[in-house]
Symmetry: D2
Subunit: 356 residues, 4 copies
């Protein structure tokens, strides 16, 4: 479907001094899995990506979570309740802006299937759907994503997963180049305690090419002179994008601490050249897998010993670094895509010098 990636350096640059987990992906956090459903037919270049916090039913065993709204130009669903209750009760779904409603309905139906009294004897469920606008490559008005895409993405969730122009990332653009899904992880040494893992998964759909900083190198202006006139013209037409940044950690943190962790995504994002543009929905959320919050008050309740507040710094560093690395991976893995009305986004790798 998409041409093979042009040659370039053998591997993506590394961000920061902390070690990665074995996969250098969010799935280095034990229990986390990721799945995609990709739609790539002509003018339809879109999809769904799902992050499952654990293998069980998050409605019955919720995970603590925090939210950082860096720029709230966005249409994500489920954030209101996440902020109030500090917890997530569905898998985290990513998709395009106009498909939030369809995916939210799919999440409701999946929850009802597993918990037939949802919305009756049990409370309703809070679908968590995050989005970016892939309208440059994808005919977003078709609302092509449906319930089956969510189900397929969920069913395919695994520790190993593809990055780049897949799932919700299929139609995304970043820095007038091809964006999409990227992931990374970092190991954070916490004093007097086991080392913990922070993992990031981003849906990258933001950025102006002249501002692109690639692992500390301001490569944007150079590439800007090399993309063709048509891309430049199309770029000027395109709406500015967004980025969704999902952080997972096995460190025992509560919702307030997870909000603090999520905010550090803003630092990783800024180091790639973003100033959180007006039209960019820049949203970060973080969850912990260290304990779960049972739906039923009669169930045994957790009593986690949280990380002492003064020991959060290495986790903060890991959050910023894994987000920047995840963005690097998103651009690195992004295969070029031609979509709606012949709009095209080139791969960043085709502009990188080849390492012999």
């Amino acid at each position: 479907m998409t041409p093979p990636l042009p040659s370039g350096p053998a591997r993506p640059p590394r961000i920061g001094a902390l070690a990665s987990g074995p996969l250098d992906a969010i799935t280095d956090v034990p229990g986390v899995s990721v799945g995609h459903a990709t739609r790539d037919a002509g003018d339809v270049q879109t999809g769904v990506t799902v992050v499952r916090p654990h293998a069980g039913d998050p409605y019955r065993d919720k995970v603590p979570a925090g939210l950082a709204v860096i720029n709230g130009f966005g249409k994500s669903a489920g954030l209101l309740q996440l902020e109030e209750l500090g917890q997530i009760e569905t898998p985290i779904a990513l998709t395009n802006t106009f498909s939030v409603g369809a995916v939210a309905q799919a999440q409701i139906r999946a929850c009802v299937e597993d918990n037939p009294e949802t919305g009756r004897r049990l409370p309703t469920v809070n679908p968590l759907v995050l989005e970016c606008n892939d309208g440059f490559l994808n005919d977003i008005q078709r609302m092509a994503v449906g319930e089956s895409d969510y189900r397929a993405a969920l069913a395919s969730a695994a520790a190993a997963f593809a990055q780049g122009s897949v799932g919700a990332g299929r139609g995304m653009s970043s820095f007038q180049l091809k964006g999409g899904i990227g992931s990374a992880s970092r190991r954070a040494p916490v004093r007097h305690a086991a080392t913990h893992t922070v993992g990031a998964l981003v849906l990258a759909n933001y950025g102006l090419l002249p501002n692109l900083i690639w692992a500390g190198q301001a490569i944007g202006p150079g590439i800007a002179t090399r993309i063709d006139d048509r891309a430049r013209r199309q770029a000027a037409e395109a709406e500015k994008g967004s980025i969704i940044m999902v952080l997972a950690t096995d460190a025992p943190l509560d919702a307030r601490q997870l909000r603090r962790l999520a905010l550090r995504a803003a630092a990783g994002l800024a180091r790639t050249g973003s100033v959180y543009g007006h039209g960019s929905g820049d949203i970060a959320l973080a969850f912990s897998t260290a304990y779960t919050l049972p739906h039923r008050p009669e169930a045994p309740q957790p009593a986690p010993t949280l990380v002492h507040e003064s020991l959060l710094d290495s986790l903060f560093q890991a959050a910023a670094d894994s987000v920047e690395q995840a963005i690097v991976h998103a651009l690195w893995h992004a295969a070029p895509v031609t979509g709606r009305d012949g709009h095209h986004r080139a791969a960043l790798r085709s502009f990188l010098p080849t390492t012999p």
Copy 2:
């Protein structure tokens, strides 16, 4: 469909000392209109209510707005961007919790129809859909509300509109009695300036009967002894509800001031006996019709002289009073409804003493 209301006092009690507008409804704010689509067939007792801020296209001419999240246990759509940008760009839709996705999609499609480049050359649109859970009377799992309901509600919007068990209010419960749609308005004298109107529309689906305060009278405990055992048993089963409070004003306020105005809905709500229960999504938003914000930066921009901050108190009083009055109206107008699995909610009026 529903039986005639039992007799009771001739008219609802009045809240506070401020005068009402001629309709004592949110539509006393010039330009505001309200429409309903009601679904009342057996287990399906639900619907859509739409508040239009003005007769034009709010995508092209947005209205300034502010949000107050009193208790964020809710699944409303569109609040993230409302908070960031301080503006509303679709009609305000109210519906049941599981129909947010469908109504949001309907709003997107309506916007695309009117603005064909939405999500292409133009930015996407931010659907604004607020919800309560009507699952006690309505089989919410059927997701019966569809695009046509939104369209019908929108098409029927007018200055005169029904209250009680209609539109989104069809299946709502309040204080273990029938809840639903209520509206009211108050005139706020602002020193050295024209008097302004504040109007409220609520979707009332909250409250525990023993706590009910009716225009200052603690009538809840007395009624609680009179509802039958079955209602009490059902009440104990039912999830706690929510309340959506929409405020409109013709006073020239900006988004920050409108957030302050919206927060005063919490005072009106508390005076009816609510302590903002854990499971109740208590959301207030306020918008001003005094000026609009054009979508296009090339268009002439407004230069409103805002109300001086120190003169807001009468507007705050009007907000609290109109919300309490709107709740009184919701309960007053609510016809009894029997719905899902024979669940029944009685009308408050059947418990009020008749005034000869």
Copy 3:
């Protein structure tokens, strides 16, 4: 100094259905103590009130806390860090608006005395000083409160303490009557768990007389016709006030839950006739004594089993009721005071009918 209270009913009205603790005061929460320092000489009618969360050093053993800013027209110190870290590390001090700086300095000095490396090897300390403007009765420009007042209030902290026109409440006005310090407590039954106590202490300096609701009775307008012309004229001159509401509980809650608890103070406040006026700094904070957060990461860390989110409602009711009761107590106990320039505030009790 102040004349004896005129006769009236034998005891203040009771709010709500929940039982009180034995003292009906915030000090029913085990470990909490309250002290005052009162300045009452001519034009100086002011003071300091201190709430100690526990008998130890809160810098070394911090308490979890949450903040609800209902109306942020206020100059309190220490709220920024309280919100970020969700903890309190000094006693909670209340005083007049212009004395916040002096009391904050006193708190710093007290902390340095107990922890000599504060601001050197140890971090600095976050003084927590909440305020209302007593400028109607007190010559606030004199900044009469000094470090010794804070020390005296702290030293006098005990489970038994005076209410009304004492401590920080000395110069406060409420509803154009004498306001000040009030306190109350409620016992909240939490399912499958021990009953917990919620206590409130308020510094009441808010309200317009015609709006006063006294335990559900709208007595304000009647009293308004009876206060003399001079009081009315002075009332018209006076700036609108503020209210500080401090909640304590022995329920194991975290900072996020405590913020939710604190917000319910808004309901209790509204039921007394407040709509959170523009110029009124209406601030609520809540802390838990169920566990402490050690300053040093090397110390043993707590692992509390928090109250399940769905069981918070009785605590919310207790918060709203104890705040309303504390306001009732503040007005009930408030002795009349004549202060700056002969300004006078009468006691509410002189307007209440005598119960034989």
Copy 4:
């Protein structure tokens, strides 16, 4: 007092592509002035810096402002009301953590002098004092800063002002090197409108040396190997710092827009190597000089035509760039200081290679 700066490159590196104003300082925004009072005697190495938004009395003519709390580990005064009302009513004062109270009192007294009814017939005033902890070089426990320092700083305010180890910056450390005051400005072209200026002033007291990025160059690790053992040991002792970032603009923005502008300081900060450490109070505020808000409602009120929301991006870029440039200037201009207990901070410039 301090030795002359060692040689190094002739001028500091430039950040970004936007042009600076003539001074490359916050005072390029017309009407803004800056003054310092510096205390540099032995163990006392501290001071006050004042930013005046305009030459008049900001109590009578307030300026619209917005706040972005990036990390709320801080003790600044005045932020609560700034957030609620979106305005500033005193000059902006910067000082050390333990002197906030003294400077706040000085601000109150200055306001009372100019407006004798403050706190009587007029409302109280909201002192705005921002702080960092200079306890490594300064004996902060002495609370050496007094009212006269605030007055001196205010009196010296001018368009031309010193940067580096002066005023509040005297005792500040950054990246284990000498930090302090820095300033910069950028010109932002806004489509279909006049170009506007954004100016920044920072009080830099944050950062870990290995993380330092200097205009895109990761020079931190190299310098870390060159500072002597004693500095490293002292560094390990020192508390982590903070940064205050004040933004001014002549663009007509309201408080909500100014909050958005202020948040972009986080991007500039991140590009220098910060991940917003746990113990770092990272606070940004932005104000506009395009119009003022009169204290008295009877006064003529402004009716500004605000910048269209979709045109904010160049201002956002200017905010991020001017903050990063201001940090560069703070480090560039910082002369070495020896203070408390012989603690010493070297100047960054002594580690930069000399440009011939």
